[in-house]
């Protein structure tokens, strides 16, 4: 499955995205490190039309000094999706992008069929700090077993320097009272995933989404760190696909246990 690089205009930004696959659109909003395609994107593209955005100010895009807030970024991404001719879609957000995804779902609940939040950074523990330091130190915070990953896509210092002001401006407080108040009315079926070894956002934050949101499901992915989709792509994709295909009914097992007919 090869991803095609394309661009779309929205709110005066030229936004890059990677696309592959057929069927129901699944939009992905990346974490603070920017868009990095990983094996889970490939696996998801076997089931869905995957549209993975590079949000304005991240990666190869010019510095974004214009977007003032997370709801504003979410609104821009909503326009970008509309400009692709996509009205209704499934929405997946990773870490920082999880918060963007939640705001987009709050702004356009009729457009977002279901939400997948990978280690979302919308609700953070006291004292939570973004990974920082050398690329190796950052990798050790992001991944439970960086040694198993081979060539880790380490964040490029120049790109980080460009995006950090934007991330700091938009990430908001660890507990965002306005967002949390509004989440209590967000009925969108939502799957929240945390790696059991997440060293960036405490996995215990997962339960807060369940406390607040009327239709949230929490899944722990064993032995994964913050970037679950990179460390355990098969486990991540299996539950995400199942949830997006069956929503709440994904809790009913379809696993086969017959050994010999």
């Amino acid at each position: 499955m090869s991803f095609a690089e394309r661009f779309v205009e929205a709110d005066g930004f030229r936004i890059r995205y990677m696309e592959a696959g057929q069927g129901t659109p699944l939009v992905h909003l990346h974490g603070a490190g920017g868009l990095r395609l990983n094996p889970a994107h490939e696996l998801l593209a076997r089931h869905f039309r995957v549209i993975a955005f590079e949000m304005p100010g991240f990666g190869t895009s010019p510095e974004n000094a214009r977007t003032r807030s997370m709801p504003e970024l979410a609104s821009t991404m909503g326009v970008a999706i509309k400009n692709l001719g996509v009205d209704v879609f499934d929405l997946m957000g990773t870490s920082f992008g999880g918060k963007t995804a939640l705001w987009l779902a709050l702004q356009a609940p009729e457009r977002v069929r279901a939400l997948v939040l990978e280690a979302p950074a919308a609700i953070r523990q006291d004292g939570a700090e973004s990974p920082s330091g050398t690329p190796e130190e950052i990798a050790r915070r992001l991944y439970a077993h960086p040694e198993k990953l081979g060539a880790i896509p380490l964040p490029d210092p120049a790109t980080r320097a460009k995006t950090q002001p934007l991330v700091q401006r938009l990430r908001g407080p660890n507990r965002d009272a306005e967002l949390e108040r509004r989440l209590t009315d967000l009925a969108t079926p939502t799957l929240v995933l945390f790696g059991t070894l997440d060293a960036v956002i405490a996995p215990a934050m997962g339960r807060v989404y369940k406390d607040l949101m009327p239709n949230a499901h929490l899944v722990f992915v064993y032995d994964a760190g913050h970037v679950i989709s990179t460390e355990r792509p098969e486990a991540f994709t299996e539950v995400v696909v199942d949830f997006l295909e069956r929503r709440e009914a994904f809790v009913i097992s379809r696993a086969h246990t017959v050994i010999h007919p």
Partner: protein
Amino acid sequence: MKVSFFETGRYSPPEALPAEWPVPSGVYDRDAGARAYHGMIERLEYIEELGFDWVSVSEHHYSPRILTPSPIVSAAFLAAHLKKITIALLGPIVPHSNPVRVAEELAMLDTLAKGRLVVGLLRGTTNEALTYDLNPAEARERTDEGMELILKAWTEPQPFGWQGRHFQYRTVSIWPRPLQEPHPPTFALGTSRESCEFAARHHLGCGVSYGPFEVMAKATRYYREQCARYGWEPKPEQIVYRANMLVADTDEDAHALLDKQPKGAPFAMRAALRDAFMTADPRNIAGEVRAPNVGGGALPTTFIGSPDTVVEQVRHAREVIGAGVIDLSLHPPGSSDLDPLMRALELFGKKVLPRIRDI
């Protein structure tokens, strides 16, 4: 020093048994089995009276040597009959269990026992891989994952799904939760590097068994180093040492008793299986490779002698291993000869136990 009695359910066969594991269940005697179970209570009431802190039970299968395939059932039975003593369930064999079920049953048991439960989680002895067709090459990974899931099931207040390598659940939300908060005192049992690291990471205790003090100390030293790495220091009662003890009036009497004991392991696996396990079941002591314990030799007796000698040995074990709890077999678990056991218990209870309290 806290003292625990390892209760194995002493089965006295009316006739000689085949010597090989698994022991054919056709030779099981129903009345002897019933006597073994009900005999536990009288013995344990005496143990409680002597001042033992814990009674421990374990999980073993397909042989009369330790007649408790379900330690949870045995622990529930003991908890119902004994009023004071702590029930140490050491422990469910995690890799061949349903971890959610284990979490539920232990929570139930802790509540039934009014918070008198202590739990050890472990991979199991080598032969147990055969019991429920567990691939020994996967046993270590299944143990780690299962232990983590048990802890999560005990502590996570919201329903959750578990996307593991070996276990998968979409909905976990156990009732009851354990009576003790956040959960019963829990030990990772084993000398391996993996087990010590797991215990350190989750602030659990560490349990080692049977080996000589210096060898066990390698594992507990590694465990303490790992705890320090995670920023905490275990208390003495978080290190348990399970061992055989032979106490008699004099050192000579004790050694004479040991000489009379069988040198081989009761109910060993046949040689071809033993050889196959040598490669299928990697084990280690704090990272140092060792052969799996399938050689067929009897487990060592590390406490042996007169009461005076044994008291000094316990002191030495505390210094070397750092153990704050000793879990004792006072007569080989395979033995169905109860009179020497009762004599040893009386001697230990009166002449040793009061003197090792303050160690």
